[in-house]
Symmetry: C2
Subunit: 415 residues, 2 copies
């Protein structure tokens, strides 16, 4: 939010935080102590935060460009002996730090400090775990009405969070014109262009560039595992589907990964550490990438799945690992091909399926090419866009809460 | 290349390989032996390749869709006791495998087999090491004439390889119109769109969305480290540069990383394993990502750099690591800010600088906003695009070699 909007609020809400967000103040700082280069805060709920002098100085909320709010302080230029000369709580409960030998004072918003508390508990609390599913816990993606998403920020946020947490969501009532899928995408963020263009059509083609443009069934796979960074989200907007067959189905790749972790820890270890080679076959491009089929992030959380039998290149691994790697691959394929892990549904005209292409494997049953017409129009976006949009809506939600809690007549600016 | 073009060549060049490439045959297979599920090949230069039955069956070159060449065989459905019933070399030196219990025969092109040899030596040989540089070994990016890149495939390939291996190249003579940078980008691949659009202009703005659109100096940084997948390449096309100051400079981030590895192994270890938080400040977006500043790939090779003092968010690390993390950060910043690692040059109208945004940190000196006009027009692409284009040109080069070595009158198709 604009600094001038924030200034209209009572203290300490009006304190600058170095960004455009407002921070809730559910807890108060009860004590601030400095020992050497460490500032320790005691909170009203008993939690303890420890902040290092360099960390605090680095994040001083006033050392930013006045308009862009981008940081202007260069912590790499800080004096070697930089330390807090004194710390105190002001009468609104904010932390005031006087620096030495730099003559500078920083005032930190308590809600902001709490949001970045580095205690193990706070760091764990900030992790949003995905909700895994299989055929026993989910029948189809959660549905949302496009007309409501467009006018109701609460519905829009619920829709975006479903995509983030469940890795899929189904919009109904999206107009069946060629521009509509782009309008849905714009609501999330920037479209990821590929060699197939910004938008692509999944329909029968005489000279198919890939198996998807034939009538054959497609087993569970992720799209473009041949790229270093697989597209995060895929939109498939159903324009027509009158063929016999051609059902869609999804598999939660993280659920499959957890199953493998349970039944065969050695296979899980191989699939999460030894890269497979992925490669597209094409007259006009030659994309290749090496990565484990199951990706873990730095904290060991499930992060992404790469899968697609026909998008693999020759495995490039030491011979001694090859047999085990194939056994692990076969286990992954057999698990993801098992009905127990699949949710089947039929896309009807006006439906727009959105799924996390790096977690939810998608597939379709074969269809008779002469039995009718099937046309899906799609595009890709990245997870970054989804996350940014969720944060903006949450930012706005928080502004509304804070402004209304103070009965301010000033409306929060639209995001 | 098209299967029918390949068929015009003498054997074994005419053998299908399951892809669109031709493979050199610098070495011959002298012996093929099968023991259980392992096929061992002896080569004329003494190298030994070991292939597992599942690996060979998985890559059978005839088990592909006739037009797309995408794989149709599902190795996850292979019989448990699949094995080579017999192997032999045919009279052209290709490997022939008869399978059991499946009744199928696979014929493997010897050049293809050699290209995928899994011996430690072959796997090492396939790694293309980057060429690191600093001010003592490079004055400026290698230059190429745009007019030559457009008409000469050899020059085009050299230009693309310079971007890949040196992380930078400078085109001269690019017309100073607004479309030109897009034409340069199209030569490499698909433009990566961001919240700044497909193309962006670096020039003075009244309401700057970032520090880059002011006259202040920008220290060495990568663009968009706040995204999970930072753009791989950046193009900056100089349309005008008549200001005082405003020099460009580049730093080889991999060279900086190697320096740190040498002088402070503990700092290197922290920078390659503990994630920093990156965050943009914006009214209309909220991108954040956590990643180590120096990224290593699965094989331990330098892979990417993330840097930008004003694009960092608050570090989210256990308190005990914070002081060391800041010391490591300061070392990185001080090293990359040192002239010893910087190459300075001035972009002139018609120049188009292309650099690997995930390796080469870019920067500019401050300039007087009233002293003239400075306008760079830019865009992003991903490394995937560069690599694909290089492979296509190499594919074509190889076709030309193979066709000409047989005096074929048939021209290789243009890529």
């Amino acid at each position: 939010m604009e600094p001038e909007d924030r200034a209209a609020l009572p203290s300490p809400h009006n304190l600058p935080t170095g960004d455009f967000s407002l921070y809730p103040m559910e807890h108060q700082i009860t004590e601030a102590v400095v020992v050497g280069r460490k500032v320790t805060l005691q909170w009203s709920d008993g939690r303890v935060s420890e902040f290092h002098a360099l960390w605090l100085r680095d994040n001083c909320p006033c050392c930013v460009h006045h308009y862009t709010l981008e940081q202007t302080y260069e912590v790499s230029q800080a004096p070697d002996d930089l330390h807090p000369a004194s710390v105190r709580l002001n009468k609104e409960g904010a932390l005031v730090v006087d620096w030495a030998p730099e003559e500078h004072q920083s005032i930190f918003h308590p809600g902001w400090l709490r949001a970045y508390c580095s205690s193990a508990q706070s760091r764990t609390d900030r992790w949003v775990a995905p909700t895994l599913w299989d055929a026993s816990t989910r029948e189809r993606p959660d549905g949302f009405a496009w007309s409501e998403v467009c006018v109701d920020k609460t519905v829009e946020l619920a829709w975006l969070k479903a995509i983030r947490d469940d890795a899929c969501a189904l919009l109904h009532g999206v107009p069946t014109n060629t521009e509509a899928v782009g309008e849905v995408a714009d609501r999330i963020g920037v479209v990821r262009h590929t060699n197939f263009g910004g938008f692509f059509d999944v329909m029968i083609e005489g000279d198919p560039v890939s198996n998807s443009n034939t009538g054959i069934g497609l087993p569970p796979h992720t799209d473009l595992p041949t790229r270093e960074y697989q597209p995060g989200l895929q939109l498939l907007h159903c324009m027509a589907n009158s063929v016999e067959g051609g059902f869609s189905f999804l598999v939660d790749g993280f659920r499959v990964a957890e199953e493998i972790r349970q039944v065969d820890p050695r296979a899980f270890a191989l699939l999460t550490t030894v890269p497979w080679d992925f490669a597209n076959r094409s007259r006009s491009s030659d994309y290749r990438w090496r990565a484990p089929m199951i990706g873990l992030d730095a904290d060991g959380h499930l992060f992404e799945i790469r899968a697609g039998n026909w998008l693999r290149g020759p495995l490039n691994a030491p011979f001694d690992l090859v047999e085990e790697m194939y056994a692990a691959y076969q286990l992954f394929e057999k698990t993801s091909h098992h009905e127990r892990f699949q949710i089947h549904f039929r896309l009807e005209p006006g439906d727009c399926l959105i799924f996390d292409n790096r977690r939810a494997l998608h597939a379709r049953t074969a269809f008779e090419t002469g039995s009718g017409h099937r046309h899906l129009r799609g595009c890709y976006l990245d997870r970054d866009e989804l996350r940014s949009s969720i944060r903006l809506l949450e930012r706005r939600e928080r502004q509304d809460q804070v402004f209304s809690s103070f009965g301010s007549e000033k409306k929060a600016p639209r995001v």
